[in-house]
Each structure stands twice: as structure tokens, then as C-alpha cells.
């Protein structure tokens, strides 16, 4: 055993750091992704399709577990200089990755490798999330989704509700109608910050933080304890107190989606990406609709969720040509159609969407309703407060908010106290982020 170890050591020491390119037939590059299960298999399919479509480059795709695990793996690998060419980053990690100094911005990659990309073709509310303040795309939107409201049409019939509510007030009334009609669980809900914090603020043109949700500077401060979000949370609490719905966090595999899909609860708010999954399980009549807005406001667009692909620094030009080819492939209508077919994610370019409509894609039974997501994304052109967030350590901030809201639900704090504390703790996270990158600014 020791002998092997010494041999290994010697061998490694004698090896030079950079590997010179041995003349290979195809240029290989690596992509680490963080989607599991069925979705993970579909990603592998996308990779296979790329490899089959051309002869110059070979993409090697490895599933690294969940988003978190894939990101950790990429980070550890980057520190050891053994990172992949492409890594997948969930939307809330955008600011962290942008400031890391480890990535090769998408717009630069494409222009350096000679691709002429029509950036305006990208759906605005998707592209803005991942673009610099002057509109240059840093990472490639990959699996993009947006939240919708799933509703149980059978239950609507039973309670005499004609159609999905457009405003929160109407929605709450609908919940009561369902309850009165004898339905025990009108809604399965949680504090899902992506829907109730992020998208709520975007839709109502209210700030989650100062500095235009962080886009304008690292010195942003959280503000959601002063917006109408407070009332919205009070609303959710009301549903819980009046037993208009059941709070269903995903513990023990029974989350909001599960509760809805098995027909137990009448509504749930979730990503359009789950459209396919619900389709498989649900045995009742159901459909999707816009997420409601406050009465008297004209709602903005919702913003993309999901993840994007980042090119990482440190590789040869030849390999980057392959990466660019892959990104270009993903943009094609054909690839987007494939992705929209096998998953519930939406196409990311306007032209791809148009071509799908022209093909009658959304008229098909199994995909009907998904166009709601696109319409939600394009309801208005993105405004400064409906571009997304550019806040560092956002994942931590959301976890803090979740924790405070849970405490509130258990009766340990009032809504305002919980939100105040969340803002206080969250701001600490933002300050840490700012200090970490002292003297630097967001692109």
C-alpha cells in the first residue's frame, strides 16, 4: 500500500501542470449539472443530441446531484483547478457567481468565438436576470420557468366558481367558497419565497431591496418589511388560521405539489416546470392560471426562475469554441422545442416561442396551459423592479426569511416582527457580501 502511494506521489510530481493538447479527433469539454431524477435524464438527452448533431466537439455531461451539490462541486473543483467548462447555477446564486471572477461572460464568449447572436430575441424577463446592468448576457438561461397557479377544476365546479381568480381578494373569496362547499383543503401552501416574495414584488412593482433590487450596487438594503408584502404574509397567515388551507412544507415527501396532484387540495402555487409531473399524477380536471395580483394594481411581468449555464475561465480557445457551439445549439428552435416537450420549462427566445405556437404545440392537450407561463413572463416589458434580484448570498437570505416565517406561523412572533428580523439578519448577509468584494462592483 505504501509503495503504491509513493509511486502515485512520484508520478504526480513528475507530471507537468498543464496538459498539452494531444491531437484528438474531437475537442472535449465538460458540463456539470444539478438536476436529478427525471429532469437529470433529460439533460443527458440534450447533451447526446448536441453530440449527435456535429462532429467537431464532444460534450461530457455529469450529473452532480442537486443544485447545491453541483455548485459546491464546481466551487471545490475550481479551487483545485479541476473545474468543468460549464457549470449550472440556480437563479439565486447569480450575484455570487457573477462576482466570483471565475466565469467567462456569455456575451464575450460568443463574440470571441465568432457567433453573431441576436440578443434581443431572448425573452426580456428571462435575459435581464442574467445580464449586466448594461444588458449584456453573462450566463445562458437554460431551464427557465415562472410560477403559475394550479387549480382543481372539478372543485371549482362543485363550488360554483366560474374561473380562476385574478385578484388576491377574489382568490380568498374563492377559498372560502370552496370551504363552504365542503372541500376540506382549498389550498396547499407554503411561504415559497420564489412566488410570494420575489414574484409578488415584481408583479406589484415594489422593491425587495433598495438600489433597484441590487442591480445598481452592492450597498443595497432589504426593504420587504415595508412593502405590501407584509399584508400579503398576513393574508397567508389568515388562510392558515381560518383553516382555509393546509401548510405543506416538503417534509416527508408530501409537499404542496403532491397535495394538489393527488386531488387532496384545491390549489397550489408552483413552477410551470411541474406541469408535466402533475399531468402524470393528477386524476381530476385541472388547469393553470396567472398568479393573482392585488386589486387595483396593474401587474407587471413575472420573472424567470430556474437556472443558467456559466462558462468558466481557464481553458483553451479550441475548447471554448466547443462551449459556444453548445450554447448556440441550445438556442436553436429545435433544441428548445425538445426541452419544452420533455420538461415543463419554457422556451427562452421569442422566435422559438412563436414557432411553437405556429406548430400548434400549445393546442395539444398535454401542453395546454403552459403558454400561460410565457404570457406571464411577457405581460409587460421588464421594468427596473421586475428584472429579478442581484443580491449576494440570496440563498442564505431566503433561508433566513423561511426560518422567521416558520417561527411566525408557530405563533412565536408577529408578522411584522418576523419580517423585521428577517430584514435585519438578511442585511447582515448583504453587508458581508459587500465587504467580501470591497472596491468591486457588479457588472
Amino acid at each position: 500500500m505504501y509503495r503504491t502511494k509513493i509511486m502515485f506521489l512520484t508520478f504526480t510530481i513528475l507530471a507537468l501542470t498543464t496538459t498539452s493538447g494531444i491531437a484528438e479527433a474531437k475537442t472535449e469539454f465538460n458540463f456539470w449539472y444539478g438536476l436529478k431524477g427525471y429532469l437529470g435524464k433529460q439533460v443527458a438527452q440534450v447533451c447526446d443530441r448536441f453530440n449527435a448533431s456535429q462532429d467537431n466537439y464532444l460534450i461530457v455531461c455529469t450529473g452532480k446531484g442537486s443544485y447545491d451539490q453541483a455548485l459546491q462541486a464546481s466551487i471545490a473543483a475550481y479551487r483545485a483547478k479541476k473545474h468543468p467548462h460549464i457549470m449550472q447555477g440556480v437563479d439565486s446564486s447569480t450575484a455570487t457567481i457573477m462576482m466570483s471572477g471565475a466565469i467567462y461572460p456569455a456575451y464575450q464568449l460568443m463574440s470571441d468565438t465568432g457567433y453573431n447572436v441576436d440578443w434581443d430575441d431572448y425573452i426580456g424577463s428571462i435575459m435581464n436576470y442574467y445580464a449586466s446592468s448594461d444588458g449584456k448576457l453573462y450566463s445562458f438561461p437554460f431551464n427557465s420557468s415562472t410560477p403559475v397557479m394550479y387549480y382543481n377544476a372539478d372543485m371549482y365546479e362543485k363550488a360554483g366558481i366560474s374561473g380562476p381568480a385574478k385578484t388576491w381578494d377574489q382568490f380568498e373569496e374563492d377559498l372560502r367558497s370552496l370551504k363552504n362547499a365542503g372541500i376540506e383543503c382549498p389550498i396547499a401552501f407554503s411561504f415559497y419565497t420564489w412566488v410570494h416574495l420575489d414574484q409578488y414584488h415584481y408583479m406589484h412593482n415594489e422593491p425587495i431591496s433598495t438600489r433597484n433590487n441590487g442591480f445598481d450596487g452592492l450597498d443595497a438594503e432589504l426593504m420587504f418589511n415595508k412593502t405590501s408584502y407584509v399584508n400579503h404574509i398576513k393574508r397567508l397567515k389568515r388562510w392558515h388560521d381560518e383553516k382555509l388551507g393546509s401548510y405543506a412544507k416538503n417534509l416527508f415527501g408530501i409537499g404542496t405539489r403532491e397535495s394538489f396532484a393527488t386531488g387532496k387540495c384545491g390549489h397550489y402555487f408552483g413552477s410551470i416546470a411541474s406541469h408535466g409531473t402533475v399531468l402524470k399524477t393528477a386524476k381530476m380536471q385541472w388547469n393553470v392560471a396567472f398568479v393573482p395580483h392585488n386589486k387595483g394594481t396593474k401587474p407587471n411581468n413575472t420573472v424567470v426562475g430556474g437556472s443558467s449555464l456559466w462558462a468558466m475561465k481557464g481553458f483553451s480557445n479550441e475548447e471554448y469554441k466547443g462551449v459556444a457551439a453548445f450554447f448556440n445549439f441550445l438556442r436553436s428552435h429545435e433544441s428548445q422545442e425538445f426541452w419544452s416537450t420533455v420538461t415543463g420549462y419554457v422556451p427562452v427566445t421569442k422566435s422559438a416561442y412563436d414557432s411553437l405556437i405556429a406548430k400548434g404545440f400549445y393546442a395539444k392537450k398535454e401542453f395546454a396551459g403552459r403558454e400561460v407561463a410565457i404570457e406571464s413572463l411577457t405581460r409587460t416589458p421588464p421594468k427596473p423592479l421586475s428584472r429579478g434580484v442581484r443580491l449576494g448570498n440570496y440563498r442564505q437570505i431566503k433561508k433566513i426569511l423561511d426560518e422567521e416565517l416558520e417561527k411566525m406561523l408557530m405563533g412565536k412572533k408577529s408578522v411584522q416582527d418576523a419580517l423585521d428580523n428577517a430584514v435585519k439578519r438578511g442585511n447582515l448577509q448583504l453587508r458581508r457580501f459587500e465587504k467580501q468584494y470591497k472596491g468591486k462592483s457588479l457588472p
Binding site: 405543506a248 412544507k249 417534509l251 448570498n393 433561508k399 408557530m410 465587504k435
Partner: protein
Amino acid sequence: MIKRVIFKNQRLPYLLILPELLIILVFFYWPSIQAIFWSLTLEPPFGGPAQWVGLDNFRELLDSEEYYSSAGVTLLFAFWTTLISMGSALILALFVDRVIRGLVAYRAILMWPYAIAAPAVAVAFQFIFQPGVGFFAFLNDIWPGIWDPSIDSYDALVMVIIAASWKSITYNFIFFLAGLQSIPKTFVEAAALDGADPIQRFFTIVFPLLSPTFFFLLVINVTDSFTEGFGIINVMTQGGPGGSTNILVYKLYQDGFIGLDLSSSSAQSVILMVLVILLTFIQFRWIERRIHYAE
């Protein structure tokens, strides 16, 4: 201590001890030193230049309410798991000790939980404690909402405490039983002849003679609850709900790995290291001395 008869080679010992030394240097000491460095800076997740902040990370931790609440949860967790686990083990050991026939059989049956991995225990107990399925669903039917660890902090804490205690009963049981079996029967008989009943005998003879084992297990249990709890909590509750099962070691993992806050996580590591060192130190100094006395 060293043997009286030794070998005189000069270079061989260094060679022989080198493998283990290398491993602990690379995997124990280097990371620990690095943790100390990172705890004094703001280390960016992807590497690169780090800001020196001195003791700020520690200050922030000790200023934050959640750190104390996490410490509180850890203490609660340590206290209850130790109490339940050692208490049950002691009772079981006492009774098994009285059994003349079938001792080995009893011991065998009570021994197997040791072999189960923490996540397996967590998975099994998670199933058993589910509000929607299984035994507790039955309870929930009668009194709706009485049991729901996904939203009730007490339920969640109770659940992980029970799972963790159950897992360590065997370990304690074996030590207690061995301790009890090594008490000379003559002591007990003499006391009985003097007219002491079993309960009196327990307090005057058995417990004092058992005390070295007891204290040894006490420290082991407490130290272990800092660390063993991780597997169970990671699978069952991920520190929730509302941070009610967020023991220190889990918080450290969560902040570092998921929150990507390497520096705060390292500062937490350093604090934990100090605590563990203190505890282990107490064990070896104080307990060892008492054991030698008892013998």
C-alpha cells in the same frame, strides 16, 4: 510509557510512523489551521483575494440571536439524548444483570441497533413519525394537527431526540452491563447479608462502583451528540422548522456548504473545536484519574 526492552534503530521508527503522521497532518492539522485562517478573513467561495477581518466573524456570531438559539438547541439536544439514552441503558443493564439465564440472548437482541447507520435510523424514524402516514396519522385523525414535525418545533425536536437516543442506547448498555458484571459478587452478597435490599444495594454499592463508567459515558454521550446528531438531522429536518433543530454542527454545515459562507462556517468550526477539546480534556484528565482511584 515505553517498553523496557526496545529496538535501537535510528531511522526506522520515523519511517514506520510516517504514514499515520502524514495523514493526520494533511487531513487533520492542515484543515484545522486553514479553518482558523478562514475564520479571520472573508473567504470568497470561489477563492481569490480574501479580506482580513480579524475577529469580526466571531463577533458577528456571538452577536447574533440565532447562534445562541442554535447553541441552546444543541444543549437541549445533548441533554435529553444523553439523559434518555443513558437512563434507559442503565435500567436495561441493571435488569439484564439480574437475569441468570438468557443473559447472552438478551444482550444480543439489545445490541443490534448499534450496527445501524445514522441516516438509516433517520429514514426509519422519519417514516414512523410521519404525520400523514403510519402511526401518527392515526393520532392526527383523532386529534387533528396534534403531531406535525414539519411545522411544530417541539414535535421536530422530540422526533430527532428520540431517534438519536434510540441509536445510542446500545453503546451505553454494553458498557453499563460490563461494568455491572465486573462488580465482585462478594460485595453484593455481603451487603445482602447485612440486610440491605436491592434498592439500598444499588445506591450504596453498585452505583459508586459504576461511577467511572458512568462519567466516561457521560462525556462520550455529550461529545457524540454534538456530532452524531448531524446524520439524523440532515436527513430528517435539515435544521427546521424555524431553526428548531439547527444544532451547532448542522448550522456550520448549512452555512458553509449551502450558504457558501466559508468564513462564518470556519469561525463556527473553531468555536466547536474549542468546545470539543475542552470536553475531551475534561474526560481524560478528570475521569481517568477517578478510574484509577476506583481500581
